[in-house]
């Protein structure tokens, strides 16, 4: 059952990061270095891809984001998000940074804010 929670669309909420985007992709493997020769590698399992996304939000959209995280996600739930590279819908969670900080708003101009978010794509 896919989640019913969706990335906000109200007030022309940005659906793709306008400011910046980086993606970390990988697989969990065990890598055992040998005294001589190449290391041995064994697959462990799937690893969530990590997306660093940066949005430019209006003051209203910043409030929408806060309401979305506080009231809908309750900080922990996953939601559907359009992957910026593949344009497919993926299920992601917001990864809190240090001290349970979900995002930080940076003032860039009157009524406009920049925010950095870290998503993890659930396998």
């Amino acid at each position: 059952m896919a989640t019913s929670y969706q990335w906000p669309t109200v007030h022309n909420f940005p659906q793709s990061p306008q400011k910046g985007f980086t993606e970390s992709v990988g697989i969990n493997v065990l890598r055992s270095p040998m005294d001589v020769g190449p290391a041995k590698m064994r697959r462990r399992g799937a690893r969530p891809s990590v997306l660093n996304v940066q949005f430019i939000l209006t003051s209203q959209q910043a409030q929408d984001l806060q309401d979305f995280i506080n009231n809908d996600l309750l900080g922990t739930r996953r939601f559907n998000f359009k992957h910026p590279r593949t344009s497919s819908t993926v299920e992601v969670r917001i990864v809190p940074q240090s001290d349970s900080e979900f995002y930080k708003l940076t003032y860039i101009a009157p009524g406009y804010w920049q925010t950095d978010l870290v998503f993890e794509v659930l396998p």
């Binding site: 059952m1 896919a2 989640t3 019913s4 929670y5 190449p38 590698m41 064994r42 399992g45 739930r77």
Partner: protein, 177 residues
């Protein structure tokens, strides 16, 4: 008898090859907590979502039509030597109030468990082939702190059992005395 003699060729090849997509999964089955018929099935890895709701995903593996819930754990297996200890332990780095309540209220006696090793091949297929089985273990004690829960496992030690079972003592045969 060495475990190698019971492993499948696929498992042996996976264990000795330099690169392999095969991942070893430990399946832990806990039988009958507190005398009930409840069976808890856990795995230390996953290859699929075995259940998902609107708010939660449960990862795990499916083996022989049973779902094993993914819960990271560290297992120290019993050694293979002749003087090998028959003790092993399992440590969960996941502590919840519910788990502590189960330990305090339902671990009132030795609880039988079963350890099994299976291989996953990187797909979400069921893992029905058991490569190794460690049976006969019981949870003999449990300890926990804020970070981890450790279950100590042991086997029945027949060396300390009385033999023959009954002695001619006043307690067992009062009519003879």
């Amino acid at each position: 008898m060495s475990r190698l003699s019971t492993l499948s060729p696929t498992a042996i090849r996976a264990m000795f090859s330099s690169e392999t997509e095969q991942a070893v999964v430990m399946l832990l089955t806990i039988y009958g907590l507190d005398g009930t018929s409840v069976v808890i099935r856990l795995a230390d890895n996953f290859n699929k979502r075995i259940s998902e709701t609107d708010t939660e995903i449960i990862y795990g593996v499916r083996s022989r039509s049973n779902d094993y819930v993914f819960l990271p754990m560290e297992i120290s297996l019993p050694s293979e030597g002749e003087d090998g200890s028959s003790n092993c332990s399992i440590r969960f780095n996941f502590v919840t109030p519910e788990a502590i309540q189960i330990i305090r209220e339902q671990l009132t006696g030795p609880v039988k468990i079963l350890l099994e090793l299976v291989l996953t091949d990187g797909t979400s297929n069921d893992v029905d082939t058991v490569e190794a089985t460690f049976s006969g273990f019981y949870i003999t004690s449990a300890s926990y702190n804020a970070q981890s829960i450790t279950l100590n496992l042991g086997m029945i030690n027949y060396n300390t059992e009385p033999f023959p079972a009954y002695n001619f003592t006043p307690k067992n045969f009062p009519g003879l005395f």
